[in-house]
């Protein structure tokens, strides 16, 4: 159970850091952002894939930190990037575990 606690902790810390960072970057009132942020999408994909598929506690923890960072951005930001990251991570997870299922 220690690993799950670490994942949750790193995800929460990543979310808080993402929230602080995005408020520092975007101080304006709420806007539903339509453009796709490629660097954040790469961070999100890397985070979710590492988190779900690495099989290593430290790498997964780093992954959830990165995933939390993008997902935790202020409302209106990071939604599409998170969705893309999650979908790719789920596909990679299914491909890696196909033989088990």
């Amino acid at each position: 159970m220690l690993d799950y606690m670490i994942y949750l902790l790193t995800f929460a810390v990543g979310s808080i850091l993402g929230l602080l960072y995005s408020y520092k970057q975007h101080g304006e009132p709420f806007v539903a952002v339509t453009k796709f942020n490629i660097p954040f999408a790469i961070v999100s994909i890397l985070g979710w894939v590492l988190g779900f598929c690495s099989g290593n506690m430290i790498l997964s923890a780093i992954g959830f930190l990165l995933a939390g960072f993008v997902m935790g951005e202020r409302p209106g930001y990071g939604r599409k990037e998170t969705a893309v990251g999650l979908i790719i991570a789920i596909i990679v997870y299914l491909l890696l575990n196909w033989h088990v299922m």
Partner: protein, 290 residues
């Protein structure tokens, strides 16, 4: 692993997961109502923030009780974590935990001396109606599996399949309890906005922090118990998906349903409970449930 370490880790997991799930619940409600909503991590940040806020004590409070009750509230849900995820012990103890929680809700309101708290305390007695379907659900689980022990119920399901397929109406009764316990529920008569924050109205600072801590753990424990006793042996991913799905469903229900008045709330709960009870009895006696 050392038992104390196991308990500590599970309590931290319950707090973090419960807070994030409640954050997700708020987010879903907001999106259904076409609001951007707070970030998912906001509930967790709120809970932590209250521990560092100034704590004020109203003149009307019964001080020992007023302070003690929040620690009891936190303690009973920590007991819930110990009985459930840690020890896989008896469902009856969890029923006891929920019954004590209702008493704590009641006493928390009455100890504040505030009219809002007192009215919420009276409503806490009425809302004990949710315990009847809970108890009935537990009885049916016992009738089918022949045990109250969570570990043995898991073992039973690994052989016979998830209980939700054999006693779906009992699962529905338990799900109604989850809806009742969820924030902004149509049955949340103790926290009606007419009563400001109900029994929590007069608790500030770290006392409120303890209450939010307990709420997060309570949400996690209820979801864990529901998934464990009705959806068979699950791995961590199964629990994660199940908890997220239930939080989203309850968020959707709560966003689209107005709060019922106390009498309607109690009657609705009892009616749904009675229908599910009769239905499950019928299923057992007609041999639909093996």
């Amino acid at each position: 692993m050392n038992l104390m370490a196991d308990i500590l880790i599970n309590v931290i997991i319950a707090f973090l997961a419960g807070s994030l799930l409640l954050g997700l619940h708020r987010k879903v409600m907001a999106r259904v109502q076409k609001r951007p909503g707070p970030p998912i991590v906001q509930q967790l940040i709120h809970s932590l923030k209250f521990f560092f806020k100034e704590t004020a004590f109203p003149k009307t409070v019964s001080k020992v009780f007023y302070i003690g009750i929040v620690f009891i509230l936190a303690l009973i849900w920590v007991v819930g974590v110990i009985v459930g995820p840690v020890a896989h012990d008896s469902l009856l103890i969890l029923f006891g935990v929920y019954a004590v929680y209702k008493i704590v809700e009641h006493n928390s309101g009455s100890s504040s001396g505030s009219p809002y708290g007192k009215l919420s305390c009276v409503r806490a007695v009425l809302s004990a109606a949710t315990e009847l379907p809970l108890f009935a659900a537990i009885v049916f689980v016992y009738l089918v599996t022949g045990t109250m022990n969570i570990g043995e119920i898991i073992a039973y399901q690994s052989v016979h399949g998830p209980l939700v397929f054999s006693i779906p109406l009992a699962a529905l009764m338990f799900f109604m309890l989850i809806i009742t316990k969820s924030p902004y529920s149509p049955f949340a008569i103790t926290k009606d906005k007419v009563l400001i924050s109900g029994f929590e109205t007069e608790h500030f600072g770290f006392l409120r922090g303890f209450m939010l801590f307990s709420e997060a753990i309570a949400w996690y424990v209820l979801l864990w118990v529901f998934l464990t006793i009705f959806f068979g042996p699950l791995n961590a991913v199964g629990y994660l998906i199940g908890m997220i799905v239930i939080s989203v469903i309850t968020g959707f229900i709560n966003a689209t349903t107005p709060l019922l008045s106390p009498n309607h709330s109690v009657m609705t709960q009892i009616t749904i409970g009675a229908i599910c009870f009769a239905g499950t009895v019928l299923m057992i006696f007609t041999g639909v449930v093996a």
